[in-house]
Symmetry: C2
Subunit: 340 residues, 2 copies
């Protein structure tokens, strides 16, 4: 293992002190131009690479940030991570990714190893099983800034970047009503998570505001899979008066619903109008494109990163403001719900 050159190797070669080398490398104003040039040249020759580790130990700043998500390979989270990376990379940060697998124990472990690794900040979207939040509160004590995106918990002092899921649910439902739907059902996600609860609340209020009665039997719990959408149709079409509109909290369940309805020869959107949530890429590729509510994960990622950068600046000057950014959901109307 050939070890790489250090500032001492440069200092020896040039017969100057390591401190001077360090300063020259950092473009310190009080170092003569000539010395700087000499140092730069020697650095090139020796193939010197800054050891950011030593620098980090000294300064207490690693220039690493950590992200914890349930799974990285979904369109939503990977787009979000891309947004964060692209915003932070130009500022010299490296992005460490961790998966919680929707498991609070793993989430806790990941959070702690990130803290041990001295990351400068942590971005996270909590798992479905995160009810006890003591690990996050403990992490807050370490003074490492934490930022929640999408799936948040209410903890004083922690900034959040989310979309207005309530509004998303409201707009989607209202859209179906405007298309003439009167018996609208909701395929609801895991209500332990705020985001799904909010979409549900938006659905309920849109019904209410339009004088439509809410029916318990029109709410079908799903797990964001195609199969669940299929099941939903099977169950709902056993009712005395089946729905004429479907607002699904998941695009996958919406897809399953479409498939099953087609099997039953029920036409979309004439007999049943459908709208999903997340604007998964596939929704627009279908022969029958599916309407959906876009969460703009790329923007959410970029904004989260900006909130972090602002925090780093504020904190530098001693101030620190908790931010709660709420983005507007973008509704995409496609064939599955457009009756004209």
């Amino acid at each position: 293992m050939k070890k790489s050159a250090t500032i001492y190797d440069i200092s020896e070669k040039l017969n100057i002190s390591a401190a001077t080398v360090s300063r020259a490398l950092n473009d310190h104003p009080k170092i003569s131009q000539k010395t700087k040039e000499l140092v730069m040249k020697a650095a090139k020759e020796l193939n010197y690479k800054q050891n950011t580790l030593a620098q980090a130990l000294k300064s207490g700043k690693t220039n690493n940030i950590g992200i914890i998500v349930p799974y990285i390979n979904t369109n939503f989270f990977s787009s979000l991570i891309r947004g964060i990376e692209e915003e932070l990379s130009p500022h010299g940060y490296h992005v460490i990714i961790c998966q919680s697998h929707e498991d609070v124990d793993l989430e806790r472990k990941q959070l702690n190893t990130l803290l041990n690794a001295q990351v400068d900040g942590i971005f996270m979207s909590v798992s479905k099983t995160t009810e006890d939040i003591s690990h996050i509160e403990a992490a807050k004590e370490s003074n490492t800034p934490i930022i929640f995106f999408d799936r948040k918990k209410d903890i004083a002092g922690i900034s959040t970047v989310t979309i207005d899921d309530y509004k998303g649910g409201y707009l989607a439902t209202e859209h179906l009503i405007k298309q003439g739907c009167r018996r609208i059902c909701h395929l609801s996600g895991d209500l332990r998570l705020e985001i799904y609860q909010n979409r549900y609340n938006g659905y309920i209020d849109a019904l209410k505001d339009n004088k439509l009665t809410f029916k318990e039997e029109y709410v079908f719990p799903i797990k964001s899979s195609i199969e669940d959408g299929v099941e939903a149709i099977k169950t709902l079409w056993n009712l005395s008066s089946p729905p004429d509109g479907i607002f699904s909290a998941s695009d996958y369940a919406a897809l399953g619903a479409c498939q099953q309805l087609k099997k039953k020869n029920i036409s979309i959107p004439e007999d049943v109008a459908i709208i999903g949530f997340s604007n998964e890429p596939f929704t627009q590729y279908m022969e029958l494109p599916i309407s959906s509510v876009d969460q703009t994960p790329d923007i959410m990622g970029k904004i989260s990163a900006q909130v972090f950068l602002e925090y780093m600046n504020e904190n530098f000057s001693g101030i620190s403001i908790e931010k709660k950014v709420v983005l507007n959901p973008q509704i995409h109307i496609r064939k599955s719900s457009k009756r004209k």
Copy 2:
């Protein structure tokens, strides 16, 4: 900024040396059980967290690995990264992700910052514009293990994990021939990349082995977009004898082709059979599901990680073997190419 406890805080509290504390924490065999217990208890009380940074500086091992991909938010790369993370996380590694945006200059920069950050290993898939590979060869000199996955370059001493793209192209083409296709065209990817060149070669050889003549005009270059697939059909259907089979190096172009053919009222698979590449999730969701060649990115990620772990062990004992793992592509036959 409340700074966290160090081994010195523990050593003061217990009136023992920091060295002893360190040894107790690391379960050194020569430390008495009583001391260990005392130290553990004090560590808990002081909320001591191991500073992995200091440890890394001392040991030269950061337990971080870096991944460089063109973009993280594609199904292929995000699944691959997931595979690497899940294999390496249990071994205590953190995964840093970087994007090259298909730009060799950015790739070089990312590679160098990863090296500066002293990562223990680098996984990369080269960008489309990577022709000069001097930055990778220079990185090799640092003795940081590098592993190519999917998009590789031939560099002595660097292990690679890829799928057999040649075989993928061959099997896909052969499948079309078995379905009765005689005029098979190929929507080819960027031939600067080995993977696309190999798929192309597989196509050519399958034609040859089945006594079908290769026609230059049946090869249409694409950029993995839906629009390119649409364009391909427009152009190819101007030929005196248009194709009756399409092997696309990209699922997106295959989708575009399907859309355009439908517009022209040409039936799939009866008039034209189509098969794509990558097995993007959407291919199976379509009303007309599209056949495709699966690159099994999850497996590719896990194997890449294993190659890295093996290297770390071998290197420990002074040996080091260059590995070239080639995975078998999995062909998924769906409606778009199944004539029965």
